[in-house]
């Protein structure tokens, strides 16, 4: 597999405060990578190191196979969580300026920006002052200035915060389209729903360390607990008797004569074994595996790590 970013053994301290401890993260090329973690875990520090805003104390970062260097900033687009614009400048002027900062020529910047302004249907804003824009409008401009120079690597820190659902959908679709064009995207967010719908891979940082990483499918797989949700009609008592010692009833609920139960199966057994036991006593309506959500995985991993440290 080719990697956009290979970070090896990154350490960073601020005085006595350890912001990153031996962090190694590989970000595959052309995928959306979720960078997760509680507040203050070290995500922003890692992102700033990728952007060369700060330098790590030790460790190595490779950008598309080469050691990260200054000229790479022109291949990176960064939308920080704390983002803003020059309030007194005009929108168009500002976009051109920021594009030039990323190494674009003025002429190319104008062409590209015109395309983006048409796409987002905001041509009328070109000569407006930034201070006259609403928050949502400013966010669109910020997104455009992040992607206008066609970066190979896009780093988005909480890109959906402050967006209404319509605009969030717009950005969501743009991210999928950019991935389709080969752009690698690092998405740092607390919104686990968007991680599930967008990310191919994740890394979870907690207390300056990577405590979980891999593809979303692998991670979720490793968190499977062989727990199944069954719906049936019949009596709960007979169902419970039929389970015996091999299957554990985790929860149950009765709505309109229909029971919804979750059952955990011991490792050596399969769903078929469970069904064989219960089919004779109740009418099964449905059965499906209870796959852990990214939200559950996040909470569970962080809490168990913190408990282990305490």
């Amino acid at each position: 597999m080719k990697y956009a970013i290979q970070a090896e053994g990154i350490n960073k301290t601020y005085g006595k405060y350890q912001a990153l401890t031996n962090v190694s993260i590989d970000i595959p090329e052309g995928k959306i990578f979720g960078l997760l973690g509680p507040n203050g875990a070290g995500k922003t520090t890692f992102i700033r190191i990728l952007n060369q805003i700060i330098e790590p104390d030790s460790g190595l970062i490779k950008f598309y196979g080469n050691p990260l260097q200054r000229s790479h900033v022109e291949n990176i687009g960064y939308l920080p969580e704390e983002r803003g614009l020059y309030k007194k400048m005009k929108v168009g002027e500002q976009c051109v300026y920021l594009a030039q900062m990323k190494g674009m020529k003025e002429k190319d910047a104008l062409t590209e920006l015109k395309m983006w302004f048409e796409k987002f249907e905001i041509q009328a804003w070109w000569d407006k002052k930034v201070e006259d824009l609403s928050k949502g409008m400013a966010q669109k401009i910020q997104f455009i200035t992040t992607v206008v120079h066609k970066p190979k690597l896009l780093i988005l820190d909480e890109p959906f915060s402050g967006f209404d659902p319509i605009n969030a959908e717009l950005i969501h679709n743009e991210m999928l389209r950019l991935r389709g064009e080969g752009t690698t995207i690092v998405l740092s967010t607390h919104d686990m729903g968007s991680v599930e719908s967008l990310c191919d891979n994740i890394a979870l940082i907690n207390r300056s360390q990577v405590i979980l990483s891999g593809s979303v499918a692998e991670v979720r797989d490793s968190f499977r607990t062989k727990t199944y949700t069954l719906k049936f009609e019949g009596t709960l008592l007979e169902f419970t008797i039929a389970l015996g010692a091999r299957f554990e009833l985790m929860s149950n609920e009765l709505i309109n004569d229909m029971h919804t139960v979750t059952v955990r199966i011991k490792p050596e057994f399969k769903l078929n074994d469970l069904l064989k036991q219960v089919i004779p006593v109740v009418d099964i309506l449905s059965a499906e595996e209870k796959v852990p959500s990214m939200h559950d995985i996040f909470v569970q991993s962080v809490l168990s790590f913190n408990e282990a440290q305490a």
Partner: protein, 451 residues
Amino acid sequence: MSKIGLIIKREYTTRIRKKSFIVMTILGPLLFAGLLFGTIWITLNDQETYTVLISDPYGLVTEYRGEQDSTLVPRFPDQFKDNENVIYGFTEKTQKPEELKDGFYNIMIELDEITINDGKCNMYFDNFPSENIQGKLKNDLQESLERFRVVDSLKIDYEKYKRAKLDVSFAEINVNKLGEEDHTKERAVIGFVFAILIYMFIFMYGVQVMRGVLEEKTSRIVEVMVSSVRPFQLMMGKVVGIGLVGLTQFLIWVILSAVLATFGLNYFESHLVNGAAVLENGAVVANGMNQAAMAQSLMNNEAINWIFLINWPLMVGMFIFFFIGGFLLYASLFAAIGAAVDSDSDTQQFMLPVTLPLVFSYIVSAMLITNPESPIGNFFSIFPLTSPITIMVKTAIGNISVWHLISAMAALIVAFLFFIWLGAKIYRVGILSYGKKVSYKDLWKWIRQKN
């Protein structure tokens, strides 16, 4: 264009286009000229009229008008002439000072028997008179008392006495520049004007740098910027851009002032020449005489020639060098302050150590006018935090060696490199630190912190 060039361009163009810049640039010289002429006008015209009672029981300066007329008049009609500011009255009685409060007179001067010996007399006042008025009163009294002593006591003809009397004054000549008068004081004042200009510009534009940095920080654009350029480039781009705005404004001011001054001088000249014409016609009034004298001294080359004693090429060169050097030094400090705080109101605690040396150099410059060779002045015209301002006075006077200049310049270069380095260290951490009230201890930590 390089990125730092683009930053400079943005800082420059956005500021030049601002209404406030255009207004200030045009109004600046007008305000300055207005201030100057206003002050002159006020000192000349804004004077109350004083009614002055001379109480002279011993007849030192007054006498009866005639044998039958017991009105008191000055003994010597040349003195105690009324003008628009002073109206004299005379009495031979001693008056109670309290009566001044409600009476016609608001000043009473009491001559007693010893006055003739020691020249001392009491002045009672309700309203304290200005220096000008006091000057006239003293002058009148002095000449009258002198006459009294010369004519009545010494029995000498007053005209002879006047011819014998002599005022001593110095023509200042530096032994290193024999053959010309020095005019140190006048030159020092010119230097002081330049010192004030540098002081003003460092302050005005230094604060603009601080505001600009703070604005980038509070509007949260800064993190996007430093993902494209190094913090140092961003800081220097701002400092240089704003410095260029300052230079532009200064240049426009010089041009506008030159135009205004030419017009002003023409106006004055035509008026003064009129005054001189009045003199020739023989219709001499005291006012006209003053004007004529001024006109003559202005026309007389020698009186104004000292302006050319100043080494102007050196002066302008020094001005530009110390303006730029001083601005770079202070602007980096102002940038560091802007980066360290979260809001305008928090800047105060860090402003003091930066403004203190600036204000101090202003004071030292003022001191150099009266004491150009002061060792303290010499030290602070080399010390880089104060030299950009104080050295202008010394350069104008010309009592400065080449070595002095070179060491001041070298010290300034070393200092601004150091302060840019120091400012950049604080800047690069400060711009990304939010929400915490920063102390001097934190700043020290930031300076030592690795990138």
